[in-house]
């Protein structure tokens, strides 16, 4: 029992790894903003790096959080085909995922040139290279493509995760 329990727990931890990263990002944003407000109002010191760091992390959260979110739910949508049978709904859902995948692919392809164009910039307060900051775009977009592929696989399986059961 314990032998099968440990690998199962490890697998669950691995599946949640992206959530840990994003929760950490969110926690750091919160701490940085608290430091910013505290230093401004209590210490009367304005810390320029806090805004820079918090904004950068928000951009990272947008790209790293989106694939993690797709495990649980979809982006906001208007779904008018709830009355259809399972097979046509599955076909429509796959088309929707393909459309989303096409968008992520376009973002991914375009991101390489954009990242390269930012390599000569540095942030004013922290001196971080631009391409270090923008590298999250190809990483996040590629992961979004992987998540989209997993969602399509889930749609084709008989046993279905929660995000599909809520839709179909």
């Amino acid at each position: 029992m314990s032998g099968s329990g440990v690998p199962a727990r490890r697998a669950a931890l691995w599946r949640s790894a992206d959530d840990f990263v994003n929760v950490a990002l969110l926690a750091v944003i919160a701490v940085v903003l608290v430091v910013q407000v505290f230093s401004r109002y209590v210490l009367n010191v304005s810390l320029g790096w806090t805004t820079e760091l918090a904004s950068t992390l928000l951009g990272w959260l947008m790209f790293l959080g989106a694939p993690a979110m797709l495990k649980r739910q979809s982006h906001m949508e208007i779904y008018l085909f709830g009355g259809l049978r399972r097979v046509p709904q599955t076909v429509i859902r796959i088309l929707i995922e393909l459309a989303s995948g096409a968008f992520y692919a376009i973002v991914l392809i375009g991101s390489f040139d954009y990242v390269a164009s930012t390599q000569f910039f540095e942030t004013p307060a922290l001196g971080i290279r631009g391409d270090v900051i923008t590298a999250v775009i190809p990483v996040g977009s590629a992961y979004l493509l992987v998540r989209t592929a997993i969602r399509i696989r889930d749609l084709l399986r008989p046993e279905r995760p929660r995000w599909i059961r809520e839709h179909l």
């Binding site: 959530d19 994003n22 929760v23 969110l26 926690a27 944003i29 919160a30 903003l33 608290v34 910013q36 407000v37 401004r40 805004t51 918090a54 904004s55 950068t56 928000l58 951009g59 959260l61 947008m62 959080g65 989106a66 993690a68 979110m69 649980r72 739910q73 979809s74 982006h75 906001m76 949508e77 208007i78 779904y79 008018l80 085909f81 429509i92 859902r93 088309l95 929707i96 459309a99 989303s100 096409a102 968008f103 376009i106 973002v107 392809i109 375009g110 991101s111 040139d113 954009y114 990242v115 164009s117 923008t134 775009i137």
Partner: protein, 425 residues
């Protein structure tokens, strides 16, 4: 190109493609295939979303709201309000509305407010003889106050999209939000008298004091946010940080009801909600950029000025458009889709951006309880186990009074602008 772009976006949305992706995909087609821009522009425009410092308030307010909810705040507010207002005829329905108004000062999300208050109130209301469809409709409608009374995610999005002061928008929403709450209380009271709904017995003094003291720390968050902004102490983003720190302190130190697991779950929910909004804003900014460069606002302006040049009647027409669009599309995407076109028209006509903001959020928020989508109503109807048809029949009195308040705000701008002007001066 513009018509084709709008058609593509609409078709994608109606096919069920997520709204953010529909906006993004349609814009990408226009940018790359018709305007011959490099693909790198897409990444650049999407990532520019992080440049808006005010957006940092979104995860902070959402997180604060989830923490307060997880710490059992909604039940405590209900008990505190019931101790004071429960004795009035139809007391529980009035308590529901007031609780939603107070909860709006914490969470800023309509559906979250309706779900939190509905989960606490719908069962006891049914047990006390209130018609479930009426209760679901009332709480669903009161939930719509969430995006109007500050803090409000919708106002932050509007502020970022139009570069309007979020602080002023927050202040401007307070009076219209209270007016909507009062109008719903009138509906609740009149219905209670007509249907002979019960009064609640006054609790013993000791119990009343305990209930009130239990709810006060939760209600104090509203004082921090509104008072801090009104007193010129905080910006909206700073207020969000104060709200989060306060929520965390109250949940862990005062109520002692927040566990690490609940905090982690609240962070996951915050992340999901924040990411959804950020992608919407990012993709809508792509669309907005194209529409503006194609001169669409000018064309729409010409059309609307052909109908009327009076700013208030123009705003009235815009409010009606919001009511219609709000029936189909959620508040945040509707703001992001309509505002790039309507904002330049409205400001050109002399409408105050803050006034437009309040009318925008109020008009679109009413759509949260009107068919066919009505997410606020559907969530309370689900909790009350009432069919959608019965809930829709029950909600019309609330829709009518809320629409009346919307038109009042349209034609009496001071209802929205008095508080911001007070702070400006």
């Amino acid at each position: 190109m513009t018509l084709a772009l709008v058609a593509i976006v609409l078709v994608l949305i109606l096919l069920g493609v997520p709204i953010a992706i529909s906006l993004g995909l349609g814009s990408v087609m226009a940018l790359v295939f018709w305007a011959d821009n490099p693909l790198a522009v897409v990444s650049q425009k999407l990532f520019e979303v992080r440049d808006h410092y005010s957006l940092l308030a979104i995860p902070m307010f959402i997180f604060a709201g989830f923490l307060m909810d997880a710490s059992g705040m909604s039940e405590r507010i209900v008990r505190a309000v019931a101790a004071v207002l429960g004795f009035i005829r139809g007391g529980l329905s009035i308590v529901s509305v007031v609780t939603c108004m107070l909860f709006a000062g914490v969470s800023g999300s309509a559906v979250a407010d309706a779900a939190a208050v509905g989960a606490v109130m719908l069962k006891p209301m049914k047990e006390r003889g209130y018609e479930p469809a009426f209760s679901a409709a009332l709480i669903g409608a009161a939930g719509c106050i969430g995006p109007i009374i500050p803090p409000s995610i919708a106002f932050i999005i509007f502020g970022v999209a139009t570069e309007t002061s979020i602080t002023e928008l927050f202040l401007a929403g307070a009076i219209p939000g209270i007016l909507i709450g009062l109008s719903l209380i009138v509906v609740a009271y009149v219905t209670a008298v007509r249907r002979n709904y019960p009064r609640e017995p006054l609790p013993p003094v000791r119990q009343m004091v305990t209930d009130l003291l239990g709810g006060l720390p939760a209600m104090f968050m509203m004082v921090i946010v509104l008072g801090g902004i009104l007193g010129g102490i905080f910006t909206a983003t700073e207020a969000s940080v104060a709200a989060l720190a306060y929520g965390l302190a109250i949940g862990t130190l005062f109520y002692r009801s927040l566990s690490w697991a609940q905090i982690y779950a609240a962070m996951i929910r915050t992340m999901d909600a924040t990411v959804t909004v950020l992608w919407l804003i990012a993709c809508a900014s792509l669309l907005s950029w194209i529409l503006t460069s194609e001169g669409v606002p000018d064309a729409v302006g010409k059309f609307m000025f052909g109908l009327t040049t009076d700013p208030l009647w123009l705003l009235f027409l815009i409010a009606i458009l919001y009511l219609v669009v709000g029936m189909l599309i959620d508040v945040a995407p509707a703001i992001l889709m309509l505002i790039p076109v309507l904002f330049p028209v409205a400001t050109k006509a002399g409408i105050d951006p803050v006034h437009l903001g309040v009318v925008t959020i109020t008009g679109l928020a009413i759509g949260l309880i009107t068919p066919p989508t009505a997410p606020c109503l559907m969530i309370t109807a689900g909790i009350a186990e009432v069919s959608a048809a019965r809930a829709f029949r029950a909600v019309w009195p609330m829709v009518l009074v809320m629409t009346a308040v919307l038109f009042l705000v349209v034609f009496f701008p001071q209802l929205a602008l008095w508080l911001p002007q007070l702070v400006r001066n």
